[in-house]
Symmetry: T
Subunit: 169 residues, 12 copies
């Protein structure tokens, strides 16, 4: 057999079940990031308007960041002896981030981003709990990603507040 | 109305039908590139082996390139007064680029890449024909992208030839 | 005589008339870009307001781009055996891009930019037609510049839409 | 004694009184810049909203610039044989730059920045007068800093005008 | 209400009290870093002597690092729905880092830095304990900052040892 | 009213007349630089010959420098509460810098540059005198620009001397 | 005494025993990394063959990474009041990473790397457990290093699989 | 068979004859560029004199550019299923670019460069015609190269004019 | 006469014969490098296959290196009062580096590179002997180039060994 | 005559006497900087000891700075129609900066640097006075250089203080 | 057999004995450098004190340099058909560079570095003699390394002199 | 005594006389380079004319190169236990490189550079001979510098030839 027998840690044979459970969580996280890349790509091109530029620039920067997250999730799946899934396994879920009817409807985009980030935060919080004590490497990686998502969410909540204060949302 | 009346070129009112036809072709191209990003992402992580490293590095570089193509297609859709579609419109088609049963099966990946590039070349060749004389900007942009895809295809055909020469494909 | 006799292509002696016709078109394009540099320079300094910053940054970046276009037009004039004209030949035409009465009147600036880009698009579309088959080098260069101008126009149309949606334009 | 006797210029023994007068002015300038760093730090994090992003980015860049000013003032104090004061000497004065009640209240921030810059301009104008003919090095340094502050003030006055034009300030 | 309801993690409504407790700890940390910036700024300019240069360079580099820590604390406060305090809330505490009587008294500076870092280490250790299991993002961020401070402290303890060995401290 | 009342310096209300006088001088300087950009652009493309390359490279570098001067003048106009003029206000004056009859006539270009720089030096010297004691910021900025122009003039005078020494000018 | 009395955390006096226990673990880790540097150095020069190049490049990059790990371990030892050991304390253990008889025997190298990484993973997993709750800084640092080693191991296991699939290992 | 069947475009089986015709044209272009590299290499070292430096620097920069052209031609040959020829197929043709008798004879070099560029322009113009409609990728690539060569030719024609004007050519 | 009389060293008049002998050796070296550039250019494009990529990348990097060697040889010829020969003097000799019949025949390429490097090593060794004591500058330059060639040869010998070990060469 | 007649400013004919007076002052400044380059070069190599390293690094950085000052003085001499003097005009004056008897005698070097900077400060203060109102460009340039020299002097006075405090100077 | 027969130079078959003798010398040099890496690593972390920082920074930079030397020695061994030895062959010899009893004992470190460099200089001088005339490539490489070591030695001798002058060594 | 006893090589005690002889040669070389810096500085500012620009740029680049040579000579003097001399030891010798009567007299400058380089070549050739076998490090360093000087000389000889060919020299 090609692997030297690891006798401790998440890569040990005895932890195979735990590992597969974590892999399933990571696959879901992987697809969340992939869909976010798609959604942010569309929403960084479609919107019209001066104020939209701030959103567009913010999302453009995030595309690379979220793609980077997807790559980290993919590589961790591999390290845990899993297989990164192919495009046929993809199923869209972010109905709140589809293009709005009018491309000047920025509030629609802002609410969509908040919803997407909220979902990600919930799921990553769960991974952090599940990996506690058994896989500190995955845990540490996900904490760093969670930090990014909390920051994004908070920023877009601020955007929404302004529109609410102006009576536009 | 917010647009100054353009009286010539693809942005002119009288060319609306042609424009929408081109937009449909560009949307298809957009989704082809997006799916390729997904497929190359998975196939740049999954494969095992020394020889696979060459493939992995090649695909990793291509991820950014193909994402860039998608962004170019998206922005051109916008410029032609279209809307970049959301993730719910995505439908996977690259069944030949799903992860193989064994991660050392590199020939499977190589054949998949060739198939994907062949499809892209066919479609982009058609866009070049459709835009001839009516939209030189789109045409010029797609010729450059076509060059990239022809190069990728030729490279992976060379990879395949080696495996055929060794009797492994 | 100092030129080796070229027997084919736009530089051939027999194409002198065509060449001079193209040079006249390029001179007009050259002056359009020069005036745009002036207009964008003033409009990247004068406007007041938070929203204006987005316009200002956009125009500041375009100053270099438009100056670059002017240099390309100038060098192509030279390559076709023409002479780049001096400042005495300049005649201002962009009355729609003069400073507005109030420096917070951003809509005035936006409309001005759209008008300027529309004019450029019309003229460059004509150059592309005139050079078809006889001077592919000029044609290729102008297609790339046309792409830039279409993108600018589309962006500022989006800005205008927002103001229209808010009932401010 | 460790200093070679300088017989001319602001470092000469006979100019000790003038030097100490300038040092006092520089210490006040030093504390103004330090407090501005604090104020801009808070106001580059707290505000909510799309429009706030423009302010936030502007202040974030200014933090480094103002810190640089503080370092220049500190080093000039040292060069004139003074001592840069410690944190116990700090006394806050910018009551107009404290966080507003609602973080979407951007007008509050804008007015605060204008007030801070106005104070700085007054004080630096005085230093320029006091150093005239006696300490050209300090004078030259402060003129350059004054230029920065005039530019900041003018920018935020422009921001305020927009809000006034919209009836929001 | 503008926030999507978070049902788990530190941002959840049910964790409001815990969040406010953490915010108070972060504000204190924020002010510690701000004062350290002030103290290191003065102490990177004032000291005289060859040996002092090593200290000066070390503190100059730390100014940016500590300012960065302050920004991280400020942004985390914001993410947890708190408000970064203004300059009127600042109260100096580092009496051990005020300028010494003679600017060649390096031991005074060294002892001051050790005292400041010791205080920071105590406080950050407490934050790490308080956030355990409830806010892994804050915890992870503070561990990294703690590492920096431990390194600084150890370095200056080494400086002190040399002076002690030479009978100068 | 949106401006905090400045009670000293060039931005004070009582200095409005002086300010407007300076603005007029700066507008003239602005147009001189803009025309120089045009003239140097043409003269960095048109000339033929090996020796001309040295001139061409020198003017190409100066295009960016002179454009930068124009931007500095424009921004200072804005800071003094003026408005940067639009292209309709432009009137060409550099008849000595129009393209010569033969593109190998380098002496024509050199004399033209010297004439342009001489005019700029005269005007900027006047601004420096007019702003003395009342607007040190404008004065300091113009002194730096004057230095550039003196250097250019001296360089081209040297070029001319060589041609004179060879009996060609 | 030169250390300010720390009353909490791993640097506190009362934690001296724990600290020394951790130092011993870190010294072992330090020597493991040092020996890996030696082994990778030799194995990045000796192997012959096209396929070997992939291994060689991989190991060459790892030399710097592993040396960096050694430096991190060394500096942490210092921060915990320990002393980095000298060369006389070194004892070689990686008999599985000595040069093979034939320099084309790549499988020998691959197996050696897997064995080395497996040993490191075991030891670092133990450090993570030992430092839990008592020294989060060391723990966090070692988790990051553990991630690197897991990645290396997984990569070389993939290499081995290919050779096994080809019947060469 | 290793190639996926392409059914449209220049890579399609039915276009084999056209493809081979283009390959022959590209091989000739390849050798023209290779010989130019040789000629420019010699002529960027041999000439003596101040004026020659301008030529030397120009040719030195062109060596890299022409080598890049050769690589582009070579890679396009490969993409069209051709084989880049070996050194035995090389036959020198640029008798006009051999070293002159006296190394101060710059006119000889200038005439040689014009002759070489004229030949290239003729040949590339023909490729552009031959590929029209059938191979837009090759056509687009050659148009860009043609632009470079037209620019070089025009520059050296200008050099020649100066010498003619001085009665030296 | 234009040269100051050198009375010692290789540039002295009395060493003219020795100098010409060295020039002849350098010309041969120059042509060897030029042909190698051609051969490596073709062989960095033609080969097919995954394993070929390693060879291709290696040769691509060497193209620039060998071109640099050619430039060094050319400049040294010039410094010794010789003339770099033109393209008509070129005669191909590397029959072992022509494209193989099948582009997957990598062993053919490897053997060719070894043969080319062996020839270069022999010739450069001779130059080092011939210049000993009489021209240390040329000697020193050639020793450095020799080192490069020995390294290349050794690398490709390693490649060959692998194929021999696999029974493919 | 080759100069366009300047009618105002320092370059005007009527200011020839003043100009020559300034040129003499600039020549003296030029030689002071040149000698300082020599002295700092020797003193950045000769000294022995750990503490000397700080001095050495400081002087090494200053060599480039002082050489830059010399170049500025030289170019200003040229701009004022003077001639930069040749090496025969050099006369050494810095007897206080010759190598000490023992290379560990750092105090000797420190005192020498202070003496050199004091001399420069005196002379530059005089130039600033002489150019007041008549040549603002030279004045502005010298003020900036004076700032550098004041900073250097202050730094080395600090070094000296430490040695005095230790009873070593 | 896989090597083309070399008939001259150190790689020739007839020079096998000489080659093996040189390989043995290079292996010893390789181990000296490796041990120095270890020693400098420990001694760039352990020492305490301000003055120690200069040593620490010097050694930190040397770690990379000495590792580079080791790589050069290793690659030369390979080029001469030798094999770089594995970690089991390492035997520590630098007893003079082990950590001192007190980490403020800098003189111990300085003496150790001088001893190490002296040993290296002796050995490298011998290699230079042994390779004279037979292997100029190795000789040239070792001369460059010898230069580095002489410089290091001289620097640390200077450090020691200071301590001796102060009566501390 | 502070130096470990070196028993072989140029640093050995027994080679003290040889060392001092080399030091004297290096001091002379040091002063030659220093004077060249002065001469090139003046001659890179003084000359007038288009053609002079090529000389000016060439000399400006050489200033840094020659200063670098001086630093190398200085550091080698130090390594051989010598002392770099101070400015009082400087005596100008390059009477042929003083400013000419007319600043358009370029031939004067060219002849001066050739004379200076010829002198340097003679002296460095002697150092190479004197160090043969006894100090390979100095020899190797001087060979590299000699190469630079031969290249400079050859370039300026080429410049002179052009003037001779035109009957101007």
């Amino acid at each position: 057999m090609s692997q030297a027998t690891a006798t401790s840690g998440i890569l040990a044979d005895e932890n195979r079940d735990k590992r597969e459970q974590i892999i399933e969580l990571l696959k879901k996280a992987y697809w969340m990031e992939i869909e976010t890349v798609m959604s942010y790509l569309a929403n960084s091109v479609n919107p019209d308007g001066v104020r939209a530029q701030e959103i567009i620039e913010s999302l453009k920067k995030d595309i690379q960041e979220e793609l980077g997250h997807a790559q980290q999730f993919g590589e961790r799946i591999k390290e845990l002896y899993g297989v990164v899934p192919g495009s046929l396994d993809f199923a869209a879920e972010q109905d709140y981030l589809q293009p709005p009817e009018h491309q000047t409807d920025i509030v629609h985009v802002i609410r969509g981003v908040i919803a997407a980030e909220t979902g990600a935060i919930e799921h990553y919080t769960r991974i952090i709990e599940e990996t506690d004590d058994v896989d500190p490497v995955t845990q540490d990686m996900v904490i760093a990603i969670l930090h990014d998502e909390q920051g994004h969410k908070r920023l877009f909540e601020g955007f929404l507040r302004e529109y609410e204060a102006e009576g536009l949302a």
